[in-house]
């Protein structure tokens, strides 16, 4: 199957399928969704995060927030779930949606994401940047417009933030070549997502690291030989 010399859509879907298999095993919540005409699809996951910050609930029932407790303390007292939700819902809980799509032009996977408060109001790009992990902040804010942008989701047609993929090949190639040297089949999606995800709040459980090799029998050999052909096209 020489057409898999580059990272094609089929390879992408294969790796996603393997990734999701493991996700299901550990209850990590990833799903595959197809577009209406089923020609392509993407992987997605929703997760909720509590934002550290001002803990005062402006809109929550003040009876439950007698003092301005930090978020952690607010959750500790034996409040029943409903009361806790009242305290946290209004300001602190953020819903993140992560979508992994395939980019035909770059021939790499791309991470789309969006975030909103529980009342549906979306986070602005500024909030997203502020939420970027310390580890990546310096570099990402170095040239923010080159890194996180807002684009229309190719399948859903809604605005999402995107981690720009133009360097993906560049940072994936050494990793893949290194693994090829020792004849290891690597799940490209697992590897890639482990690298880019944490920058925007998406952390993969460690078990994915081992799962990438357990499917050795199933992984298409050519699929792992991802030559950076698309570099020539850039």
């Amino acid at each position: 199957m020489e057409e898999d010399e580059f990272f094609g859509e089929e390879t992408f879907q294969h790796y996603c399928a393997e990734f999701i298999k493991h996700s299901q095993k550990i209850g990590d919540g990833w799903e595959w969704r197809t577009s209406k005409d089923c020609s392509d699809g993407y992987m997605c996951k929703t997760q909720f995060q509590i934002k550290n910050g001002t803990a005062v609930s402006h809109r929550g029932t003040s009876a439950h927030v007698q003092t301005c407790l930090p978020m952690e303390e607010a959750l500790e007292p034996p409040l029943d779930d409903f009361e806790v939700m009242q305290t946290t819902t209004a300001t602190e809980v953020i819903k993140y949606e992560y979508h992994v799509l395939y980019s035909c032009s770059y021939q790499v996977p791309v991470l789309y994401f969006r975030a909103s408060f529980l009342d549906g109001s979306p986070l602005a790009l500024k909030d997203i940047w502020e939420g970027v992990h310390e580890c990546y902040k310096t570099r990402l804010l170095h040239g923010p417009w080159d890194t996180i942008t807002q684009q229309e989701h190719p399948i859903l047609g809604q605005p999402f933030f995107v981690l720009h993929p133009c360097k993906t090949n560049e940072f994936m190639t050494p990793v893949l070549k290194n693994s090829q040297k020792i004849n290891r089949n690597v799940n490209y999606i697992t590897s890639w997502l482990s690298m880019v995800g944490p920058a925007v709040g998406l952390n993969l459980p460690l078990s994915y690291a081992r799962a990438a090799f357990q499917d050795e029998g199933n992984v298409d050999r050519q699929g792992s030989s991802i030559e950076p052909k698309s570099l020539e096209e850039l």
Partner: protein, 140 residues
């Protein structure tokens, strides 16, 4: 994990001739200003107690990333990946615009808050944790 501290810890000591590294990080070595804590030190003279506070990490470069002269380090279990990344970046004198990734199993990047002690439990063998590192311009 198997405790074979003695043989693995002596490795960097033999590099002592270069005057680099085997002792606690100090200004006279080739490193830039030492990290704020000595949580990462070249693997040497660690008391081999029952509960080793530090674990041995072997760092391997990927691609054209500079190779560290001292590859073997004793690191506190609670040191995070981010802490290790910062340390290696300083050691290699990388600029802020360069990203450094660390991998287990040569291909999986643990999240920055992951503690190396946990990684050692999951991926360590022969008394050490092998981590690959790679610098890149990941963004843009």
């Amino acid at each position: 994990m198997a405790e074979e501290p003695e043989s693995s810890l002596q490795l960097p000591t033999s590099i002592a001739a270069e005057g680099e590294g085997p002792t606690e990080i100090s200004p006279e070595t080739a490193t830039p200003e030492p990290p704020s804590s000595a949580a990462v030190s070249p693997g040497t003279e660690e008391p081999a107690g029952d509960t080793k506070k530090k674990i041995d990490i072997l760092l391997k470069a990927v691609g054209d990333t500079p190779i560290m002269k001292t590859k073997k380090w004793a690191v506190e279990r609670t040191r995070t990946i981010q802490g290790l990344i910062d340390f290696i970046k300083k050691f290699l004198k990388l600029v802020a615009s360069e990203q450094l990734f660390i991998y287990v199993n040569q291909s999986f990047a643990p999240s920055p808050d992951q503690e190396v002690g946990t990684l050692y439990e999951c991926f360590g063998s022969d008394g050490k944790l092998v981590l690959h590192y790679c610098k890149s311009q990941a963004w843009g």
